[in-house]
């Protein structure tokens, strides 16, 4: 059974890029267009890892992470922010909300897969 990853981003092309990188490595990937939809999907089934954009309408990435951390099922799941934002203050907020890591866009596909492998087999 392949591991499942949720990709959250309001930009269609960005989702497509992240998904094709992850799918090429054999992961099963689902997508959500913003934090609110991601939260719905994450409640319906537990993913093994989540990549989320920060700046999105309706619900941003940090709020999503904070909400997910309230759920027992997501207590020890890697939740990674994938954002063009690089500000230290924002990263600190992400960390406080329970983010596992912060990956900066543009990202190197091989690096993304490295990171994923550190958390899920």
């Amino acid at each position: 059974m392949s591991k499942s990853i949720l990709v959250v981003d309001d930009t269609r092309s960005m989702r497509k890029m992240v998904m094709s990188v992850l799918e090429s490595a054999g992961y099963s990937v689902e997508e959500a267009v913003d934090g609110a939809e991601a939260l719905e999907k994450a409640k319906a089934r537990v993913f093994d890892l989540v990549f989320t954009d920060q700046n999105m309408p309706r619900m941003d990435g940090i709020t999503l992470i904070r909400s997910l951390r309230q759920l027992a099922e997501y207590d020890s799941i890697a939740l990674i922010v994938l954002s063009t934002e690089t500000g230290d203050e924002l990263k600190a907020r992400g960390r406080a909300a329970g983010a596992t890591g912060w990956m900066t866009k543009p990202f190197e596909p091989t690096k993304m897969l490295d990171v994923v492998r550190r958390f899920i087999a």
Binding site: D10, R12, M14, D75, R95, A96, T100, T104, P106, K111
Partner: protein
């Protein structure tokens, strides 16, 4: 610069196609918002929308190696960020340059798609954009910011003096966040950032008010640090850092128990993020009896109270049955809950109330510009500007009201020469007033012009093939003005003749559940009276059952309810079903199979709606159908009933006009 190597992204061409398509959509959205931005007071959500679109384009373009697009949208993002933070006021030039930048990105996309042979030259627009983006941060870093309060005012300041003073300050520096409450007892507050000294500022301010009413406070240096941080962030280039910050060790994550979660205290990060807005307490060390609160916070409060009202209704319904075995204490508790809920609701709604001066204060300027253009002389008299209205209504009433004042000056008032010839003063008067009557606010726009021309309206109606009964009353003739596309203006003027007529004004007011009335006397002038409810969020409604579903009707439009006998409803030739009520025949709209007729009225027209059952009368919290679903003709919104079910709210004006038209068509 990170470039995805050897396409680990997979099928790049299909991603490109998606990117091109979505970039075109983003660019169209950016343009649309830029064109409707209000330069004087750009809405934060509009700036955010442009920011987000630029941000999306940037992210993907850099990933896909379209670095020119990424660079340009990155600078655009910086500019928007600076504007969003209020480091500098929005200027026409910002809009112009951003529009041009959008065009260049569009061409760049076309070039990448292969639709253009050569890439566009981006340098000029990039330089300009960068200059604009940096000027905000620079201005903010150098200028000192002062919070100014003029007041309490014993009398309003002359509008033109005030405008002149603010314009003068705008030349010296930048005026931000103004809050003009220009009436007796009110005050005028704004922030101004300037490089000059505080004394200069005081002396300018003392030109319009007595020096002892001038309060100037230096806003402290925190602004500066924020700007530096922003400037630093802006310096970090798009691609410099392609790294990954690890916050939690993977092994630790795997082994973690539920008990030692990270600092995920709800609202913690929010508090962090909102410190900024909380700091917007006006005047800083000035007047402690006022605070500024973000609108979203209040809206959230209103929503929560709405939910509470629904829950309370649910409890009341569940236990309201006297047969229910309830102890006295519980009954008293329920009654108290109902009372407190009602009081809380009133208190919360009152926070959203804003004086109508927010709209009225723009009118003198509008009148001045308009009269100059039209060669007319006009004096605008404003009264009742302290009357309060729900904030959402203030926004929605601005356009119709502006239109009415334009109409009054353009169509209502005569030229100075014509006035003199008619023995009137050369200068016309347009009076705008607001008063609260019960649950409504009545706004009147009155001019002392030539009044409506009955003959001309009738001629115009005849031309358009609209039948008018012989000997129609003036009131009936005036109603013709509200027909779509109706205009009696001799020529289409630049000012009012833009196709926006009284029909649009009336429709907009009706959407607010208000109404418009006209009165006019030849030679003496025209008065338009607009009446709107104080708030849109909660209304008194009658609930009815139709085929097992509950519907709500705004009580304000219900005239009476009666049980009808089968023989009272007749099919009158060419008019569909009618119900005889006293001496009148009303068109009938059959909603259910029952024999209960609810007589409703909208825009002076009445109709009878047949429903199965009357359910009751109660306050309902109006939820927009448009936001939560989509717009449905005939339905003005939805509400949640005490039993948790959704009830649709009927749009009475629409329903009445439909049956009315139905009966008219068959003439």
């Amino acid at each position: 610069m990170t470039q995805p190597s050897a396409n680990p992204l997979g099928d790049v061409s299909s991603i490109h196609a998606v990117f091109f398509e979505e970039t075109d959509e983003h660019l169209a959205a950016i343009e649309e918002v830029l064109l409707r931005l209000d330069l004087a007071a750009p809405a934060a959500e509009d700036l955010n929308a442009i920011f987000r679109a630029a941000h999306s384009i940037k992210g993907s373009s850099v990933m896909l190696g379209f670095s020119e697009i990424g660079a340009l949208t990155h600078i655009m993002e910086n500019l928007l960020d600076s504007l969003r933070k209020g480091e500098r006021a929005l200027a026409q030039r910002d809009v112009d340059v951003m529009l041009r930048a959008g065009d260049v990105v569009k061409m760049q996309v076309a070039f990448r798609k292969g639709a253009l042979d050569e890439p566009p030259d981006m340098r000029a627009v990039e330089t300009e954009l960068r200059e604009l983006a940096e000027s905000g941060a620079r201005a903010a870093a150098q200028a000192r910011r002062y919070a100014v309060r003029l007041g309490p005012l014993s009398d309003p300041i002359d509008e033109s003096e005030l405008e002149k003073m603010l314009a003068g300050l705008d030349e010296m520096g930048t005026v931000l966040r103004r809050d003009v409450r220009n009436f007796a007892g009110g005050d005028i507050r704004f922030d101004v950032s300037l490089a000059g000294a505080q004394d200069d500022l005081r002396s300018v301010l003392s030109l319009v008010v007595a020096p002892e009413l001038v309060e100037v406070a230096r806003v402290d240096g925190t602004e500066g640090t924020r700007v530096e941080a922003a400037a630093r962030a802006a310096e970090e280039s798009v691609a410099e850092d392609a790294g990954f910050d690890l916050f939690v060790d993977p092994h630790a994550l795997r082994g973690r128990r539920a008990s030692d979660r990270p600092e995920s205290v709800p609202g913690d990060a929010e508090r962090h993020g909102r410190r900024e807005s909380d700091r917007q307490v006006h005047g800083v060390q000035g007047d402690a009896s006022w605070i500024r609160v973000k609108v979203e916070k209040i809206d959230r409060l209103v929503n929560l109270v709405g939910e509470l009202v629904i829950t309370e209704a649910m409890l009341a319904q569940q236990y309201g049955n006297p047969d229910e075995d309830l102890r006295q204490g519980e009954l008293t508790g329920l009654r108290d809950l109902a009372r407190h809920t009602r009081n809380l609701q009133d208190a919360v709604m009152s926070i959203r109330m804003v004086p109508i001066s927010a709209v009225f204060s723009r009118l003198p300027r509008l009148a001045r510009e308009l009269s100059q253009r039209l060669g007319k002389e006009v004096e605008v008299r404003i009264s009742g500007e302290a009357t309060e209205l729900d904030r959402s209504l203030i926004e929605k009433i601005t356009d119709p009201l502006t239109h009415l004042v334009r109409n009054a000056i353009d169509h209502g008032l005569e030229t100075p020469e014509a006035r003199a010839a008619a023995g009137k003063p050369r200068c016309g008067v347009v009076s705008v007033s607001a008063t609260q009557r019960g649950e409504n606010v009545v706004i009147e726009v009155r001019d002392d012009g030539h009044g409506l021309d009955r003959e001309r309206i009738l001629a115009c109606a005849a031309e358009r093939g609209v039948a008018v009964a012989h000997g129609a009353t003036d009131q009936e003739v005036w109603q013709l003005i509200f027909e779509p596309g109706f205009s009696t203006a001799g020529s289409i003027t630049e000012v009012s003749g833009r196709g926006v007529g009284m029909d649009v004004v009336r429709r907009n007011i009706q959407l607010l559940r208000g109404n418009v009335e006209l009165a006019s006397r030849a030679g003496e002038g025209t008065t338009v009276t607009v009446s709107v409810p104080l708030t849109l969020a909660i209304i008194e409604a009658m609930t009815v059952a139709v085929s097992g579903e509950t519907y709500a009707l705004p009580l304000a439009s219900v005239l009476e309810v009666r049980r009808v006998k089968a023989d009272e409803i007749r099919g009158v030739a060419g008019r569909g079903l009618t119900l005889r009520v006293r001496d009148d025949y009303l068109p009938v709209q059959t909603l259910g199979k029952g024999d209960i007729a609810v007589i409703v009225e909208a825009d002076g027209a009445r109709a009878a709606l047949l429903v199965d059952e009357l359910v009751g009368q109660q306050q309902i919290v109006v939820k927009s159908l448009e936001t939560n679903f989509r717009r449905v003709p005939g339905i003005s919104g939805a509400t949640i009933m005490g039993d948790g079910k959704v009830a649709l709210i009927l749009d009475i004006a629409h329903t009445v006009s439909q049956v009315d038209r139905g009966s008219r068509v068959r003439h």
